[in-house]
Amino acid sequence: MINSSKRHWLRLVAILAALAVIAAACGGGDSTDTTEGSSETTEGSTETTDGGDTTETTEGGDTDGGDAAGSFETYALGMTSDITTTNYWNYIGPEGTVYNQYVLADTKTSLFGIEYPAIQVVPAAAVGLPAEPVEGDGGWTITQEMRDDMVWSDGTPITANDVAFTYRAVSEAALGGDWLSSYPYTEESNPQLTSVEAVDDTTVVFTFSDRPGLGVWPHNVGVATIMPAHVWEPVLEDALTQEDPAGAMYGADASIDVSAGSTMFDSWEEGAFARNVANDNYSDSGLVHKQFDDGTVQIGDEMFYGDGGGEVVVEFTEGPYLTEQTFSIYADQSAAMLALVNGEIDYWINPLGVSPGLREQGLNADNLSVAVNPTNGMRYLAFNMRKSPGQYKGYRQAVALMIDKEFLTQNVLQGVAFPMYLMVPEGNQKFYDAELAAELEATYKGVSEADRITQAVEALKADGFTWETEPSVDEEGVITYGVGLIDPDGNAVTEQEILAPPASYDPLRATASLWIEGWMENLGIPARANPTDFNTIVAKIWPGVGEEIGFDTYILGWSLGNPALPTFHEAFWHSRNLAEVNDGNNSTGFANDEFDAAADAVLAAQTEEEALEAILTAERILADELPYVVLFDTPITEFYSNDLSYPFTQTLSGLQFNVGFPGTVAK
């Protein structure tokens, strides 16, 4: 018995010994691996140093060391959403998210850029201001001169061939998204960009099927991204042989890409961070920008839009001064704010700015500065003009009259929003019709409830509406609210649903909808605010081509595009873009020939003056016809570390609109 148990023992010892040997072998192997691994890593880092990054960064640092602005290591940014691609083709294509923009936008250049805060077109890779279109044999051509001193981050010059290549890639691989407007190659485009050719390294010729307006040249084609031909040519050739060339371009490995901006993309850890490093071959490093009181913009020695009268209001020298730019991803706003307060990040880049609840935290933090700016957007109430009562102008005007925007924004929304009267935001002074705004304010602002009701009743009566009980105001100012509005055809107005995003999505719009419901009911319009999921609202407004569009009213918002030339009038209200016709953005069913002409005129305008005139006409029509009642918008509030020095902080849509100034920020 003892023997047998001893035998068991021996067997166990043997097994354990065997295990130990195996373990030792594995362990040995592991440790060898580790050593190899680390030596590899060392080699790797040596290579990196040889490769140039580190060494040259140090050199760059040395050069900048003398600069007054000084240099700094890490420009740490926080974001509340991850990027979705690192491929620039994809970013301009289907993945044009604002976060991709923050990380990638600064790594490419274009012929022209928009200089902020002046909102003026200035040359980037081009020489001088945009060339004029000339009518020729095959259509209208534009011959644009380019600079000869610009290089990609790998030292290759940026030439006209890169522009021609980008056009070829976009048109042959049939790229979508913003590429479509940047290089309008499709036959549907008006005008169509039929060819882009490089005459020599510094001359590029664009050929259009028709005369391009400002909206196309320079505001789409002139500011279009230029991609490096020497890097992407082989990828394009390969993509064109595949079933889905566009997909192949979007999905291509972007680690081969080079930069033409002040920073270049380096790495991405999904869900955690993205990292850019300084482009030490940045061509415009050291270039001085100035903006003057009279609107003159000076870049280097050249002056545009004036002769430099008055004081210099903005002046900065291009860097980059940073060596790396990191984007930490926080899923939660409060976490991002805390990181900012704790100094873990220098700036929280966010399209909406810092929400009200977090502002006090930022203001109480000694290490932070704040920038508050108007935004380029609007939130509005839209009517369905395809049916009664939305089809009647008097009805729309009456509803507009009832909405007390000042009360709504100041009292109800606690001042987090500001009232708006025009489609073009006040922040875009260039196209803002102050005169019309003053007229509208006179009509709507500070009007007593009694007067509102009286005027609204007049407007409704003018269109033939009647009531079961007509709203009225007696001499002493006592108001009798209306009941049972009846439309001009004699049908009782059915309950008007106000679709608005729920409080959990946007408390401002949700609250506004409830107040508007009350105001409409005072007028005798049966109304019901219905907090509805954002996507559901969208599905109801744009059910698809040929589907019936049955909503009554809804409240949503728009973020508007290029402030240097607002072209959204055509997109939102031109009868060409009706939702039921081509799923276009004209959701209200507004169709007005006069307006269509004005909107077309904006696109076709050859000068800014023409564009302005057309926009003012369009705005006036909209203010009268009221397919939308513009309600309000919120300013954008941003915090950043006191250590940072930005070229300017007062600019439409804030610092985030300038992607955080990676090229000029200093510490």
Partner: protein, 378 residues
């Protein structure tokens, strides 16, 4: 029992009287008796009583809301809306501070002017460095008991809405949702359980595979996707939660209960007496499963409230006002990590969801001890 047996057999009038007593009255009497007995067991459980007290408290809160609106909160109008309206009410008077970039707190009346001046300064004309627009601070007011036009006993949310009013209104929403979900859940679970138990065979297999599936798929992700794709209001949500949870574990438990009822002699008796299947299921099996159904209804309320509040918190529900939305607003407006400084934003709503769930959970557990004697304390 003994009394019944010793009744003289030939006493015709009394016998008739017994027969003449409607069945429902006998049932009611039986129910009352069993209720009294069960209540005695239940009442011994302190946890259950505490749970019941919590539920009653929330019930009072739900009732209090319309009463408050009609009494102490009546007549507090601002621009035609009552400031205590749980959905749209906003008290603008309490906005006291707005902040300019250098951190100074200024008077709100100057705010509009400043904003406009600043706005005009942007665009073509570049403003002087230093003149900037103001950043209004949304301002959740701390509790104010008196001394202001509109006192807020629990403070206000960032938009000036009265927290107490929202909280009380939320109790109504919670009851509406909880009961809708619980009732639909138990209806489905009882139907599935009894039908599967009674018929067996293919019907049983099919139903049980469906149940397996529902158990396997965690409810929250499924409801997240459903609420993401469809527009759900409170009642619809309640029904969806009820259906998903009713097809889950509860159905299995009720089925096993129904199985044990099915083999009892009176079912055979009913069948021999020519009762239809439907009648047997409805009249004989279901009543015996009901106590257990009722128990799971209580658990169902807890689950439903939790799911609603989670979905609201994630901003996936389009409903007017609920405790989940109150937390969501505090969260999305950025008050989550400010802790106790703004306790009235996070604590009342969160504690309400928790307590409400806990109340039903505790009652359910105490009822569990009534239904399942093995759990009783010695």
């Amino acid at each position: 029992m003994a009394d019944l047996l010793t009744k003289p057999e030939g006493d015709a009038p009394e016998g008739e009287a017994i027969i003449a007593t409607p069945l429902w009255r006998i049932r009611l009497r039986l129910f009352r008796r069993s209720f009294a007995r069960n209540w005695k067991i239940f009442a011994q459980n302190k946890m259950g009583l505490a749970g019941l007290a919590i539920i009653v408290l929330f019930g009072l809160m739900a009732i209090a809301h319309p009463i408050f609106m009609a009494t102490i909160w009546d007549g507090h109008e601002e621009g035609g809306k009552n400031v205590y309206d749980p959905r749209a009410g906003a008290d603008a008077v309490i906005v006291e501070k707005t902040v300019v970039p250098d951190g100074e707190i200024t008077d709100p009346t100057t705010q509009i002017g400043q904003t406009e001046a600043a706005l005009q300064g942007t665009g073509l004309v570049i403003p002087e460095v230093g003149t900037v627009m103001t950043a209004p601070l949304a301002n959740p007011a701390p509790p104010v008991i008196s001394g202001v036009p509109h006192p807020h006993w629990l403070g206000t949310d960032p938009f000036g809405g009265d927290i107490l009013s929202q909280l009380l209104f939320g109790a109504r929403a919670a009851f509406a949702l909880g009961f809708t979900a619980a009732i639909s859940s138990v209806l489905i679970a009882t139907a599935v359980g009894t039908v599967a138990a009674y018929y067996g065979g293919v019907i049983d297999t099919l139903l049980m595979r469906l149940v397996d599936l529902m158990i396997l798929i965690p409810a929250l992700p499924l409801l997240i996707v459903i609420s993401g794709f469809w527009d759900l209001d409170l009642i619809k949500l309640g029904i969806v939660i009820g259906v998903t949870s009713g097809l889950g574990g509860t159905a299995i438990i009720l089925k096993s209960q129904a199985l044990s009822v099915k083999v009892r002699p009176f079912i055979d008796a009913a069948r021999v007496a020519g009762g239809s299947d439907f009648r047997i299921v409805l009249q004989h099996i279901t009543p015996n499963v009901l106590p257990l159904s009722f128990l799971y209804m209580m658990f169902g309320v807890t689950a439903a409230i939790f799911i609603e509040a989670s979905l609201s918190f994630l901003g996936l529900l389009a409903i007017d006002q609920s405790w989940g939305i109150m937390i969501n607003i505090a969260h999305t407006q950025g008050y989550t990590l400010q802790g106790l400084q703004v306790w009235w934003l996070m604590i009342p709503a969160g504690a309400s969801v928790t307590l409400f769930s806990a109340g039903f959970f505790m009652v359910a557990r105490a009822m569990d001890e009534v239904v399942n004697p093995r759990l009783r304390a010695r």
